[in-house]
């Protein structure tokens, strides 16, 4: 059962990560790759708070999210001031810099990773409770972001992506909005990190490097940018597919690279044949239209 639980939790966490990453790069149109590092920040903060400062885990997890949020604002504020592409480079610098920092600081466990992290729920209420907690967090994140994207905020995000200048001339501050999007998405990643770390109880900086970013990007792009189901399908499919592959009886030396080849080719094929992803989002923004109808009736 534990095996299924672990898979369920990971899938739930990946749904949170892909969905919140989609919020940033899809809805916000912000080119960042640093999502895994906010995941890492959440995980490390929560782990250290709980382990070394005695903060109860149920408080440490949201605190991890909060720290990821603060860090994301700290990156976005200076780099968004310039131009979108700089955020990409700044995010690379930020991601690698933070990982380098984690490796070198004396109290993070260094590159060997952090051990002896307190667990949560698993002893008292059983693992089922934790699985339920992770899945609930995933569903909650998806619903929250979907609710935001389909409401007035989503409308404004669409407008901002369409034409920032016209958006500003209508009294909207695109900069504030971008930072808010970045912060919200990153804090959800931080939250996911907290959930991860108190179940698996080990983290190391190597788990969060640039190729992780690429894997997350893959989930979002193959799933379908700017759709609710796209990143969910992308996350679950890319988590489940490798299992299917292992049923094919191949020697291990071939299997390892073959998976990489399979996935990267899949992304490339998608980029050229189906750039909109598995679940294509409409170019047009769709709000909760019943409200529009209500208004007309009123």
């Amino acid at each position: 059962m534990e095996y299924i639980y672990a898979i369920a939790i990971l899938m739930a966490l990946y749904v949170i990560l892909a969905t919140s990453f989609n919020f940033i790069i899809g809805y916000g149109g912000l080119i960042s790759i640093a999502h895994p590092v906010f995941y890492a920040l959440g995980a490390y903060s929560s782990a250290l708070l709980a382990r070394d400062m005695g903060v109860p885990v149920f408080l440490a997890i949201p605190a991890g999210g909060l720290i990821a949020l603060i860090a994301s604002v700290a990156v976005a504020l200076p780099s968004l001031r310039i131009s979108g592409d700089y955020l990409l480079i700044a995010s690379i610098g930020f991601q690698l810099g933070i990982l380098e920092l984690i490796k070198n600081l004396p109290w993070t466990g260094g590159s060997g990773g952090l051990t002896n992290i307190p667990s949560f729920l698993t002893q008292t209420a059983g693992r089922e409770a934790y699985v339920a907690f992770a899945v609930a967090a995933a569903i909650g994140s998806v619903l929250l972001l979907r609710w935001i994207a389909q409401g007035p905020y989503g409308r404004a995000m669409s407008a901002m992506r369409d034409d920032e200048l016209a958006f500003a001339a209508l009294g909207r501050n695109a900069m504030t909005m971008k930072i808010a999007i970045f912060a919200l998405g990153s804090s959800l990643a931080g939250l996911a990190g907290g959930i991860y770390v108190h179940y698996f109880r080990f983290i190391a900086p190597g788990q969060f490097d640039i190729l992780q970013s690429s894997a997350l990007l893959t989930m979002v792009v193959v799933g379908g940018l700017r759709s609710t189901w796209g990143p969910i399908v992308g996350a679950i499919a890319l988590e489940a597919l490798p299992q299917a592959i292992t049923f094919v009886n191949l020697p291990p030396s071939v299997l390892g690279p073959l998976q990489g080849i399979l996935f990267t080719s899949l992304v490339l094929i998608f980029m050229f044949v189906r750039p909109q992803g598995l679940i294509a989002a409409s170019e047009r923004w769709h709000g909760r239209n019943e409200e529009v109808r209500d208004a007309r009736r009123a």
Binding site: I31, G97, L165, T218, I261
Partner: protein, 311 residues
């Protein structure tokens, strides 16, 4: 403590080893300047370049010159493939820069996995031996790798700048970099120029990877990390400023190496990202000397949005 011979040695060896980074950075910066693409797929060009040379020299015991030729041919071929089947298509589709970025990164990974499949993950070098005999020049140890590498790099950099300045294609490249839409009105076919730029980048990458691989061990995923340094040098040197990029690559190499005399060496890697981050925040257009009259400077290309309507 930091005596002159020590400093001289650091300067010399850092200078010699910065040659590879200079070439990587120049290739990256050139493609960014002319084609306006953050070519993360350069890592793929680097990987195939190295493994081509490795196959010829390391595995088949072929002569060094043949390995060199193989590196060049493989890198250039990869560059051509990338341009024609990748960037050109995406450009026609007006793909967003994020899309282009993902494409380039994923291609790099795909190539790394293919290489893994064929060559395995064991670190490899082009020549069986890593050791280069040294000669002492005064107090400074000069290895037999240093001088040819420096010479080759200087020749290559000079050739690129000469090519840009004096050849027809090079001037077209400058023109396309300066104002791509205008360039067309003088009969310049942009597609061709973009292709030539990638070929030049391929040549530089092939050479650099041959130099690098004859001195250090390479693993299939190593190129992606190597490229990060090139990106940092390009950004800090000022986007569009090739001279600045070359200079920054050299200075960064030396500073990083010399930094261990002043800071604990485990922070060496961190230093690069600090530089990169600070450069983006405070000097988005690159750190450069006060502009001389008549010097060439190009504004940082905006790769996403249109410029706001000016006057």
């Amino acid at each position: 403590m930091f005596s002159l011979p020590i400093l001289a040695q650091i300067m010399w060896t850092s200078l010699a080893t910065s040659t590879c980074s200079v070439l990587f950075a120049l290739a990256f910066a050139l493609v960014l300047k002319v084609n306006r693409v953050f070519n993360f797929a350069q890592a793929a060009m680097m990987t195939v370049g190295f493994y081509a040379a490795f196959t010829v020299v390391g595995l088949a015991n072929g002569p060094a010159w043949l390995g060199f030729a193989a590196a060049i041919v493989a890198s250039v071929a990869m560059a051509i493939l990338l341009e024609i089947f990748g960037f050109r298509v995406l450009r026609r589709r007006r793909a967003s820069s994020m899309f282009v970025f993902i494409f380039a990164l994923v291609v790099s990974e795909l190539v790394a996995y293919l290489v893994m499949l064929v060559f395995g993950t064991w670190p490899a070098t082009i020549f069986p031996s890593l050791f280069w005999p040294v000669t002492l020049v005064g107090p400074v140890a000069v290895s037999q790798w240093d001088v040819p590498a420096l010479a080759a790099t200087i020749v290559a950099v000079a050739a690129v700048f000469g090519f840009l300045r004096y050849s027809r294609a090079g001037q077209f490249m400058i023109a396309v970099a300066d104002n791509p839409d205008l360039a067309e009105f003088y009969g310049i076919a942009k597609d061709r120029i973009h292709l030539i730029t990638m070929i030049v980048a391929g040549l530089l990458t092939g050479l650099a990877m041959f130099l690098y691989g004859s001195r250090a061990q390479v693993q299939p995923m190593a190129s992606i990390e190597l490229l990060l340094f090139a990106i940092a040098a390009t950004i800090i040197g000022g986007i569009g400023n090739l001279g600045g990029t070359v200079l920054t690559a050299v200075v960064l190499g030396i500073v990083q190496n010399a930094s261990v005399l002043f800071i604990p060496s485990e922070w060496q890697g961190f230093l690069l990202y600090i530089f990169l981050f600070l450069a983006i925040v405070f000097f988005p257009k690159g750190i450069r000397l006060p502009e001389r009259r008549l010097t060439r400077t190009a504004p940082a290309p905006s790769l996403i949005a249109d410029e706001p309507e000016g006057a």
